[in-house]
Structures are given as C-alpha cells and as structure tokens.
Symmetry: C3
Subunit: 340 residues, 3 copies
C-alpha cells in the first residue's frame, strides 16, 4: 500500500500541514518509523522523540505542533485517528467467504450468505451462522450455537453447545466459551464431590472482543451474559453465572469467579481477581493484580497489594506486616500512658 498524505488527510478529514504528496507506506511509532511511515504523537511528554524521528509525517495535536518540522496531520484525538488510519495498513487476511473442503459441517447447521469456514473446522448440528460469519481453521462450533452477522472466530476457538454471539464480535484463538462452570457439592456419604451439571448457556452481545486463550464458562441456573461492547484481553477467565456490563474492559489474565455481576464501563486491570457472588458498580476501575473480595457500590478507582520493593527492604517490612496487630496495641499502650 502506498498512499499520499493528502489521501489520508482527506479520508479522515484531518488538516494537513506540509507536503501533500508525502508517500506513506505504513504506520509506526515515532522511534521506529522509517522514511515512508506515518507516526503519532499521543502525548506532549513524548515530544522529544519528534526531534530524531525518521517518520515521513506525524499525526499530532495542534497544541504540540509548533516545533515540528515534518509534515503533519492535525487531530484533536490522535489515538482515535490512529485507530482509523491503522485500519488502512492492516495486513490481517480477511475471511474468504467459502467453506473449506476439509471442514466438517452438520447438514442441519444453518449457514448464511458469505460465511467462511476454515480448514478442519467442525460445525455441529443445529448451529446457526449468520451472513458474513467467519469460522477459523480448526474451530469447534458446538450444537445449537448461534453466531450473529459479521462475527469472527480466529483459528482453534472452541464453543460448547448453546453459546450465542452477537454481531461483529471477535473471538481470538485458543479461547473456550461454554465449558462447564466449576460447581460441585460435597456428598458426605461418599466423601467425594458430586458434579453440578451446568444446564444454561452463554450469551455474548454485539461488538464484543475476546482475547486469546480466554475461558468463559456456561451457567448453572441462568445464562452467562457478556454485554455489548465488552472487551476481554487474553487469558481472561469468567466463572459460571457471572455477567459483565456493557463496554467494560478487562485486561489480560483477569479472572472473575462465579455468580458475580460487573457493571458497565468498568476498567479491570491485568491479573485482577474478583471472587464470587459480588456486585461491582458501573465505572469502577480496579488496578492491576488487585483482589476484589467485597462488592463495590460506588464508582472510582480501587487497589490492593503492597507495591514492589527490593527484596531486602521487602523482607523487613513483611516482618512488620506480621506485627501490625501488635504494633497497634503497643501504640495504644503508649498513648494511654501518655494521657495519664
């Protein structure tokens, strides 16, 4: 691909400063950009990278543009401009709209117009794939799965029976949706655990994206619900009967146990753990690796943990942590004496 800066400016309605014929063959970071690549200044604090950048041009806020001597596209929201411009240079192979000869598709599956089914994929009885759906190579689509218009499973995704995806939803490789929730009851008579069948399915909304290697269990007493616009990063784990509100973002390796309700527009950091049977309000932000063990009723930012320290300092403070209860008592003792 080779576009002129003018073509990009016109397509996204951005003001162009500098040579309109500047040739753009890709996008890159300011530090990595070569002479025919378009870079971005997202943050004024990175302006020093402008000086040495080899970029052909830069997408930049007007307020940062004063000292810039390479061609520019002005944007109030350079990250949003990035999202849109990047799509032009994306080399991800698109679905081909055909069912590969090696795929095993049940005769009772309903297949829409322009559906792609990759090599060695399996589509079971009663599945319904709407128009434009793309099933990657090696995927397993279980019985009575329904997938909405334009949604895409990358290679080697597994959907158990009775999983529903909305429209324009993306599921990355290795992800498993609809496995049994983790439910057992201890039977004293046999001193062993009895499995609780998980008889409900999973309902995933529109414009959801689910990262690679994630696991989303089915429900035991109601459907698991992932609302519209939710974005889950890689290796997310969602327990049975848990629901996630619209447009909530969960970063990599975050895990939610069963029967918890997460609100809308939340931002869950990486490797956060959320225990079962909680309610998390809308617009809650949880920082990375926090453990949420109580419901959160008001929006805001929450954290746990001790922060990182050099090992020697950490060991000393850990000793103190184990004495915190004692410290408070000793302090109280001193205060009492002090008063008398």
């Amino acid at each position: 691909l080779n576009l002129s800066l003018r073509e990009i400016a016109d397509q996204f309605d951005l003001e162009l400063i500098g040579e309109p014929a500047t040739s753009i063959r890709n996008i890159a970071s300011l530090q990595d950009a070569k002479g025919d690549e378009l870079a971005f200044l997202f943050n004024s604090s990175h302006k020093m990278h402008l000086t040495n950048s080899q970029a052909a041009a830069v997408v930049i806020r007007q307020s940062d543009s004063a000292d810039c001597d390479i061609p520019m596209l002005l944007s109030d929201q350079p990250r949003l401009a990035w999202a849109k411009i990047a799509a032009l240079f994306d080399s991800m192979p698109g679905p081909d709209g055909v069912c590969h000869a090696s795929a095993v598709v049940s005769p009772t599956a309903q297949i829409g117009v322009g559906v792609s089914i990759g090599a060695n994929a399996v589509v079971e009885a009663g599945a319904a794939l709407a128009d434009g759906v793309a099933i990657g190579a090696g995927c397993f689509v279980g019985e009575c799965v329904a997938i909405g218009v334009g949604s895409r499973l990358h290679a080697n995704v597994t959907l158990y029976h009775d999983v529903q995806l909305g429209v324009n939803t993306i599921v990355h490789s290795g992800t498993v949706i609809g496995a049994d929730g983790f439910g057992y009851e201890f039977d004293r008579d046999t001193a062993s655990l009895v499995k609780i069948p998980q008889v409900y399915g999973v309902r995933i909304g529109d414009n959801v994206e689910i990262g690679a290697g994630s696991t989303i269990d089915r429900g035991a007493l109601n459907h698991k619900i992932i609302s519209d616009g939710v974005k889950l990063d890689n290796q997310a784990q969602i327990g049975h009967g848990t629901s996630v509100g619209a447009h909530t973002v969960m970063c990599g390796c975050s895990a939610v146990a069963g029967s918890t309700t997460i609100g809308a527009y939340c931002l869950i950091g990486g490797a956060v753990g959320i225990i079962d049977n909680l309610e998390i309000a809308d617009q809650v932000e949880i920082t990375a690796m926090s453990l949420v063990s109580q419901s959160i009723t008001s929006k805001g930012r929450y954290s746990s943990g001790t922060g990182l320290m050099p090992g020697r300092d950490w060991k000393r403070n850990i000793v103190g942590f184990r004495k915190l209860d004692e410290i408070i008592k000793r302090l109280r003792q001193l205060e009492k004496k002090d008063k008398t």
Copy 2:
C-alpha cells in the same frame, strides 16, 4: 423435557408439599425462574427472593419452608439435590459412540467398545482408549496415552505422549496435559540455558475434572500425579513433578510450580500461587490470590494480601507499608524512653 414435580420427588426420594402435577421443564435461580421452572433455596439468608419468585416450585430445607406458598420439595441438602436434579435437564450432547471418518487414528491404537472419536481428532500409535471413552473433535491424543473407562475429552484437548487418565475423568477444551516441565540449567560455558528433558509422564486418577485452558506438565524425575477426585477449574497450571492429593479442589487460574506436594481435601482458591518444592498438608484452605511460599504443616485456612481499598487510601497505606520496619524501630524507641 417435561416432568411433574411428583416424578422428581419420587426419583430423588424428596418429600413433596403442594400440587404433585406441577409441570417442570427446567431449573433456574429463584430470581430468574419462569412459571415452569424449579428453583432452589440454598441459604436461609436468600429467603426474600422467595416472595417474588415466579418459580413453579422450590427445593428447600424444612426449616425454611414455613412462609413458602409455592409447591416444595423438602431436602436437608438442597445443593446436593440440585446436583442430582440438574442432571435431568442437562442438554450437553452425549458422545455418539462412533469414530468420525475425518479422525486420524493410528492402526496400533487400542480402541474399546463404544468409544467416540470426534471429527478431525488425532490418536497416535500405542494409545489405549478403554470402553466408552469419548475424544472430542480436534483433540490430539499422543503416543502411548491410556484413558480409562468412560472418560471424556471435550473438543481441542491436547495430551502429549505417556499421559494416563483414570475412569470417569473429564478434561475440558483447550487444556494441555503432559507438555514439558519448565526445566533448564545455566551453562556458564555458553552463557545460555540447557533444556532438561522431562522424561516422565502424567498419571491422573479416577473421577477427576480438569477445566478449560489448563496446563499440567509432565515430570522430569518421576510421574506427575493427580489423585482421584481432584477438581481443577479453568486455567489451572501444575508444574512438573508436582502431585495433588485426592479430592482437592483448585479454583480458576491457580498455579503450582514444580515438585510441590499438595495434600488431600484441600481447597485452593482462585488465582492462588504455590511455589516449588513445598509440602502442603491435607485439608488446607488457601483464600483467593494468596501466595504460598512456605510449606504448610497443619490444616486450616491461610491468606495473604492487603485487601482492596479506594486508590487514595491505598496509596497512603502503601507509604506506611514501606516504613513498617522504621515504624517498629520508632515505636521501640518510644517504649524504651517510656520505661526509663
């Protein structure tokens, strides 16, 4: 499926109160149940949900039944009743007892009676699948794997060579058993790591269930052993040479490093980490996201972490944490003066 309440009561020997002809088409939570669904009251503290429930009937303890005006099945153990009743309504497709034409099965594999092998599955030389075993679509069953009667691999499971599963064991999709343990030795001559071949296999007992996306490594100097009745949730990670005692439960995303021994009837919470070369006694409970870095010699409940706080409070207390060693010294100083 449509059962009368009487049929369910008879099958599980539960006392019925109310209309025996009440029609039951599914189970559901008290809050979600519609008019032909059977709900459950597991906990007296949820009795308020009884009032507005649309459930056709409820499984309930006698002691909770006084104010309930819908048909009831009385049970001392409503969760155990749930586990048993749910099985009636489970729509999970059963194995079909046939080997799909697209599966690739070695002529030297031993295949029992009624074994199911799904589309595009691969079974390597010397594998032994006992009667009634079900291999899901896209699974890989390595050389000399042995799987006991009635065990089931869901779609896209990978078993490396020399993995053995007992009877009635379930493995969910995406799980990998028998990959190389993580073993290297630094070679000063080349300033690089030399791989230590992991020459032993994995031995998994009867009635084990392993969640989706889990990884269980093979052993280096002895077999990895997962005992009877163990239940691992999704994304569990078990390092090489580690063994897990009978009926122990490990919740989602918990991870155990190599050469650790975990006792029987333990309850390991979600996202718990257990380092290598430890011994954990029987009946130990570890709460979610704790780090276990020392052996545990007596049963009981163990925790680590700081608990969650609003970000501003947390930052202040973190500052305190970093001064704990100093705090103790200052306290001691004051106490010394106080004594003099």
Copy 3:
C-alpha cells in the same frame, strides 16, 4: 534403553566410581529410583535421601561423595549432567519428516527438506518452513509465517499471520502467537471503544522455548520481539509491542502488559504481573506473584506482597494495614510530645 554406567561416564566425560557394568535403564529422583535407575544428588542438604535410595547409581559432587556406597558418577555440576544424561532417556516421539495426508498446506507455502506436518494441521499461503521444522497435529500456521531451521510446534499451536520464529525454537501446545494486541480508543461520539488494528507482527529469536497455553500478541506500532534464548513457561502472557531480552526466563502464568521492555538474563517468577510502558533492566529477578508497576533501573531481586498467614492472624494484620497512615500520624504525635 539399557546403558552401562561406563557408557554414560564415557559419553559425558564423568569420573566413575564403583561397578562400571552397572545397568542403567532410566533416570529418577533419589527417592523414586528403582534398582536400574540413575539418580542425582543436586544439593548437599538432600544427602539423607542417599541412605535409603534404591538407585543403581548416583551423579554426585566429589564433595558429597564420602559416605556414598553405591556406584557414582562425579560431576561439579550435577544439574548440567542431568540435563545432558536425561536426553538419552527421553521417549518424546520425534518428528517423522513427512507431511500427513490430512494436513492442508497452501501451494504457495515454501516447505524445506525434512519438514514434518502433522495430521489436520493447516499451513497458509506464503508461509516458509525451513529444513527440519516440525508442525504438530492440528496446528494453524498463518499467512506469511516464517519458521527457522529445526524449530518445532507441538500439537494445536496457533500462529497468526506475519509471525517469525528463529532456529531451534520450541512452542508447546495450545499457545497462540500473534493475536491482536489489546488496543482500543474511547470514542465519545458513540460512547464505545474503537478497535486499534495491530498491524505489526511478532519476531521470536533462536533457541526460544514457549510453554503451553501461552499468548503472545502482535504489535501495533512495531514488531513484538522475543530475543534469543528466552524461556517462557506455561500460560505466559505478553502484551503488544512488549520486548523480552535475551536469555530471560519467565515462570508460569507471568504476564506483561503492552509496550514494556524487559532486559536480558532476567528471572521473572511465577504469576508475576508487569504493567505497561515500563523498562526493566538486565539481570533483574522478580519473586513470584509480585506486581511490577514502576520501571526497574538496576539489577537485583525485587518482591511485593504480604506473605502467607493463618486466616485469623491475617485478618488482624489487614486491619492494621488499613490504619497504617493513621499509625504513622499517631506515632509522630507521640514522638512530638516526647521531645517536648
């Protein structure tokens, strides 16, 4: 396999003490070894296991050998000797050098000499597999992937388009390399997140090993780089645009968010979390389950967390943690009074 102790001694140039004809059929731990197995004493503190060991012989440091009355192979580096000797007894099936009839290989893929492609694997257009590469059953190798001489993908690995692996690199089952990085920008106009296409690929070096169930995202503004000799354990997660320096080791379930740079020869413990946009120096060691939320500029060992405690003690100390800010104030108050 049946070797004499003499044959092993000769092959690895180790001094032999005792009966050279001692028959060795396998290796094992000191505690597990049976009468024809070779064991290892890695650590003087485990010498008590020598007494009762049934091992045929032991690899041991000269300094530990005084009281040992079974045949011995002397080695200054018993773990390094282990790594080398274990390779003799490894039963892992080697690649067979053929392309299975059920594999789906694009006619435009370049396939070197002696390449193995397993059953039901898929190799897309423009892929280049160098001599001796082994692709396991069920793998997906995306468009324009390049894999160097002798590298091996175990079964059910997924490589998206434009992923490059060096020579002698190993990728374990279930791992996904090159999925989209987790990048979105909030669009106020639609109150929803816009996906940022991740247009760069992944570049993985020589002699890298990547554990099972790991996820390594592609880059948005530059290639993701995993340098030579890096070893990632199972369920590692590497965000987009992050790079990992040569010979760094990351233990199971460790996760790195996007755009972070990790140095060479680092040792990242299990389940460590590293947030985005950090720089970690060379030779940094992070202990298990630590959260790294700031750049680390000098080598050394770092930790976070509170350590594990019995639940009752932990609860008391947690109360103290929440009062740390207050404790410091009260202490200061007492000290002030004390001075006056």
